[in-house]
């Protein structure tokens, strides 16, 4: 007996894996299409929407990434990953204050420990780039 929800998640997972492989192969547009399919298969799961936003950000589409990740933050406020990737999109779009605040939101999420390495690396990178000062504020 199959569970339709589990089936959808498995299909969405497959599309996300495909999206990452395509992204690494330099096929950014196909990767975005694959991530879009994952979102339409499992719209109630946070990961497809967040990963789609992260892929848009990696493609240089900051505006699209901000839209997708803003929606993800609003719908799943306790998901640290949505805040971290939103912060990244903010920094790329030049919205440093918003980025710093999103990183702070990520740290206060219940699952922040699982993503502590990503939060720390993200903050370290933008600090080294001169966009965050030693107090954690924008420069």
């Amino acid at each position: 007996m199959t569970n339709p929800i589990e089936d959808d998640l498995a299909r969405a997972q497959l599309e996300l894996k495909r999206a990452y492989l395509l992204l690494e192969a330099g096929e950014a547009d196909l990767a975005a299409e694959s991530a879009e399919r994952a979102v339409s298969i499992a719209p109630d799961h946070p990961i497809p929407t967040i990963i789609r936003g992260a892929i848009l950000c990696a493609m240089g589409n900051s505006r699209g990434a901000l839209g997708a990740l803003r929606a993800a933050r609003k719908r799943w406020p306790s998901e640290a990953l949505a805040h971290v990737h939103f912060a990244e999109a903010c920094f790329f779009a030049g919205r440093d204050t918003r980025g710093v605040s999103a990183l702070s939101d990520a740290r206060s999420c219940p699952n922040s420990t699982a993503h502590a390495a990503l939060i720390d690396s993200m903050e370290g990178f933008w600090r080294e780039a001169g966009r965050i000062d030693s107090q954690g504020d924008t420069t």
Partner: protein, 138 residues
């Protein structure tokens, strides 16, 4: 390479001391003679290895300049103004070279640091995404 150079300079120094009696004896060389032998060997070695070092041309030229000064006059006090000016200019040039190389080194270290930070972020980002996709459940 460095072994060969050290061996040569050591031999020359030893020969310059052994060629005469020990210092302090009536016929022995003066302290100045011994020091002169050591300085000759050191300058010759410096001039030989200078082309292999950063800013080496200036170092080599400086070493040869000092040797020629030593040969033509009795120490630096005997050098004429033109030679001193040349040495001074060479020293300035050498200093400029050193400064330039130091700045280049600092710049490369900063680039390396930035590269490491970026590489670490990309790796963590990739690992996090991979783990999030693998752990997707209802």
């Amino acid at each position: 390479m460095s072994n060969r150079i050290n061996a040569n300079s050591q031999t020359q120094t030893t020969q310059s001391i052994d060629a005469k009696d020990r210092p302090g004896s009536p016929k022995g060389p003066s302290f100045g003679d011994v020091l002169s032998g050591v300085a000759d060997a050191a300058l010759a070695t410096t001039a030989a290895v200078a082309p292999m070092l950063p800013g080496g041309q200036a170092i080599g030229a400086a070493a040869q300049g000092i040797q020629s000064l030593k040969g033509s006059a009795d120490g630096l006090g005997g050098a004429n103004g033109d030679q001193v000016d040349k040495m001074w200019a060479m020293q300035q040039e050498n200093q400029a070279y050193n400064m330039e190389y130091m700045q280049l080194q600092q710049s490369m270290q900063a680039d390396n640091r930035n590269f490491s930070t970026m590489s670490n972020l990309l790796k963590v980002r990739h690992d996090t995404a991979k783990s999030a996709i693998n752990n997707m459940h209802a």
